[in-house]
């Protein structure tokens, strides 16, 4: 099975609707996601779940997306990403909160390293949500 097909299988219904409407965003979404994963690994040593690294990754990925495809589109996509009915409510709430924070950071279109720093600052100030401290 090709990687692209496999990735498509993973998407939520709302994500599929989004990429059908904006196919040119697929590559940007993929690249920003990989960038966020790498930066999280660099800063935290791993990509965790419901912890600080998770909060940072959501913030930073959303900031990158907001910068690249615009706030409104990034808001639609990042919300679609969390839209599976199987996504636990408390985790969805955490992710949407952290996404929104990142989306706002991305509005100012600063450098990637500056946006990463802003997400870290937000985390340190307790402005990002974390389930597992």
């Amino acid at each position: 099975m090709s990687e692209a097909y496999d990735q498509y299988q993973n998407l939520t219904l709302k994500e599929k609707v989004y990429i059908k409407r904006y196919p040119s965003h697929i590559l940007i979404i993929k690249e920003t996601k990989e960038k966020a994963f790498k930066q999280t690994k660099k800063l935290f040593g791993f990509n965790g779940h419901n912890d600080k690294s998770d909060a940072f990754r959501h913030c930073y990925w959303s900031a990158l997306l907001s910068k690249e495809i615009g706030y409104a589109n990034a808001l639609v996509f990042t919300t679609a990403h969390e839209s599976s009915p199987l996504n636990p409510k408390n985790e969805k709430s955490m992710d949407l909160h952290n996404n929104l924070f990142g989306l706002k950071i991305g509005l100012h279109k600063k450098s990637d390293s500056m946006m990463s720093m802003q997400c870290i600052m937000a985390l340190k100030k307790g402005q990002l949500k974390v389930i597992r401290p």
Binding site: D6, Q9, N10, F46, G48, R57, N87, P88, E91
Partner: protein, 132 residues
Amino acid sequence: MHNGTKKRTVKGYTPMKYFISITAILALILGCEKTIDNSLQEFGSVEFNSTVWNKSNSEVRAKMIYSFIKTTDIRKLSSKDIYSLLGKSTAYYEYDEFPAYILKSDNKQYILAFPINRNTNKIRKYVLKEDK
């Protein structure tokens, strides 16, 4: 158009070229899957035990995962079944609802994940990815 030319498809593919392409793709697919299985075996072959797994760190878990994958028909399991066997996710892979675990072996870190079929809520497959 001559008959000889007609045998070629619109894109210029002869049946032989189709055969070679499909064989190459299949070899690639099967080759990739084998590599993953081999990677798991290289982690070790300690017998999987859910109780021990849940008390163990990511290095010990890595040694058990080959046994788990070999002895469990993961496609019959739901994400809840995976959580009851392997505990809460310790890593993140694509979506919160995909069970994912950090494994460590030979000073390398990996993410083992179980993407689900959203329609059936059953595991589609496992994914092993180096976390670098």
